[in-house]
Amino acid sequence: MAAIEVRRLRKTYGSIVAVDDLSFDVQAGEVYALLGHNGAGKSTTVEILEGHRDRNGGEVSVLGTDPRAGGRELRDRIGIVLQSSGIEDELYVGEAIELYGACYRHRRDVTEVLELAGLAEQAGQRIGTLSGGQRRRIDLALGIVGRPELLFLDEPTTGFDPAARRRSWELIASLCGEGTTVLLTTHYLDEAEHLADRVGVLKAGRLIAEGAPSELIRADTETRVSFELPDGTSVGELGDVLPADSSVVGARIEYSTKTPTAAVAALTGWAVARGIELSGLSVTRPTLEDVFLGLVADDASIDGSVIDGSGP
């Protein structure tokens, strides 16, 4: 049985439809990432699955139970890292882990959790004095202190610098090694690509694509070819070598093709025959980011924040 089953889920806030006819499964042991812009319905979906929100329609099952009725039994088996939620600032890090851990049946040792979350040095520090990244690691620590079968991570690394994000990824990956199922939301493409076995792309509360990152990329069969036109040659000389929809920006020419082998052979054949070296020639497969941007392209609300930090 799947760890999470979502069928035709619907959630509205007044006249706003946050989640609309959403269905997906997360298999036991799998890392599943919900990907989408802010406001696409990721957090609403996750909070319904965590039992924090009611739904307006559809069926959801988390570890075999309805989260609305799961109660203590279910909450013992899941770990929740909310997108934003406070901790008692007056406590020391070690105390908080002890206090929260005490209510689980399969709790981990405080030392083990500190170690896992990379907080060993902060054990004796007041939570109120920690940096944002350190606080986020306590969120993670409190999410795993009960040795959950299923871990919800709602934007776990938003606001992290690249090094801190890598460390969090290592932690999440090591948890997955223990067989923990993870439902992750993120708007970082590289995070999804790095961690997730499967990705569901949400747009305006609907699932518009789903699959392993490599599948999503493969489904997008267009390969980009680009190069710079040498001085003294004009676009016209290339003739049939270039597809009609090529873009020309200054000397730079770029086009997509479903048959990259033939396209490149035609182009290089043309160049070699004339003794021309094509500078800056590149043939690239789309990244998950290209796929994602293509999927949500007709959304007018696209802004730079979506692809923040997804660069190299």
């Binding site: 924090h52 929740i80 939620s85 105390e95 689980y104 801190a164």
Partner: protein, 278 residues
């Protein structure tokens, strides 16, 4: 399958940590425990040798102030403290975090309320201790049961009322304002700061309607030499209890885990975590 941790153990742990957190907030410590002690010292310095006449009964000032301020401390520790803390925890998202854990709701609330009661007990004992040591407060053994029962009824009622304010008032800042704006004026007409010899009828009525005066006066009775042991004032206790039950009903029907449905919780989040890299 491991056993659930024992509920009693969880409650004790919650109380222990809540008291610990209270002790780490200097401002709460000051207003709840220290300020009433300062008032005791001041009132005794100003009027300590005299006598007060309240409702036609004349008795030593020091007996009057110690009992009244002890009752006020108990109210600060429960009513004011809970009306302050619970909305802060709710607004910070701490309540939401706890809701996602297997800790039973009642255990969390028992921890909050239990810690308030522990603080109230400590405050009252410190107050009475200072009274005995510094101001020759006389405590008659025969009246101790009445004082204890009055205390129990009072802290239970004011804790429930504090939770009711926490449930009714949406934001943390306004909840703490409402708590202070209700309790301070009442304290002035409830024979706590000022012994009122002959109050205007309407003011006396207002005092009698609200629970502070019945609580403070029946607690003071235990220290009033003119009142015969065992000094139970069942009528006053019934009024306090009635308020407590009303408060409990409101608290149970208005309790919320989150500020308002759908609104995110407030949370500090550093925009950059460069300092985090080690």
């Amino acid at each position: 399958m491991n056993e659930w941790p024992s509920s009693a153990g969880l409650v004790v742990r919650q109380i222990r940590y809540q008291v610990l957190m209270f002790r780490r907030v200097p401002i709460a410590l000051f207003f709840t425990l220290v300020l009433p002690l300062i008032m005791l010292v001041l009132f005794n310095a100003l009027f300590g040798d005299g006598e007060v006449t309240v409702d036609g009964k004349t008795w030593p000032t020091r007996q009057f102030y110690t009992g009244g301020l002890a009752a006020f401390t108990a109210v600060s520790a429960t009513y004011t403290n809970l009306a302050n803390m619970v909305p802060i925890r709710r607004e910070d998202g701490v309540l939401k975090r706890w809701r996602g854990t297997p800790l039973p709701t009642w255990v969390y609330l028992a921890g909050m309320i239990g810690s308030a009661v522990v603080i109230a007990v400590a405050g009252v004992l410190i107050m009475l201790g200072l009274g005995v040591v510094a101001y020759d407060l006389e405590v008659e053994a025969a009246k101790v049961p009445a004082a204890a029962v009055t205390f129990v009824v009072g802290v239970a009622a004011f804790a429930a009322l504090g939770m009711a304010v926490a449930g009714l008032i949406p934001t943390a800042s306004s909840a703490s304002a409402v708590a202070n704006a209700t309790i301070l004026p009442l304290a002035f007409i409830s024979n706590i700061f000022i012994p009122i010899e002959d109050p205007p009828a309407w003011l006396a009525t207002i005092g009698d309607i609200f629970p502070l005066k019945p609580f403070a006066s029946s607690f003071q009775d235990a220290f009033n030499p003119l009142v015969e042991a065992p000094a139970f004032d069942w009528g006053a206790l019934a009024r306090v209890a009635a308020w407590g039950i009303a408060g409990l009903v409101v608290a149970l029907t208005t309790f919320r885990w989150e500020p308002t449905t759908g609104r995110p919780t407030r949370r500090r989040r550093a925009s950059s975590t460069t300092a985090d890299v080690q």
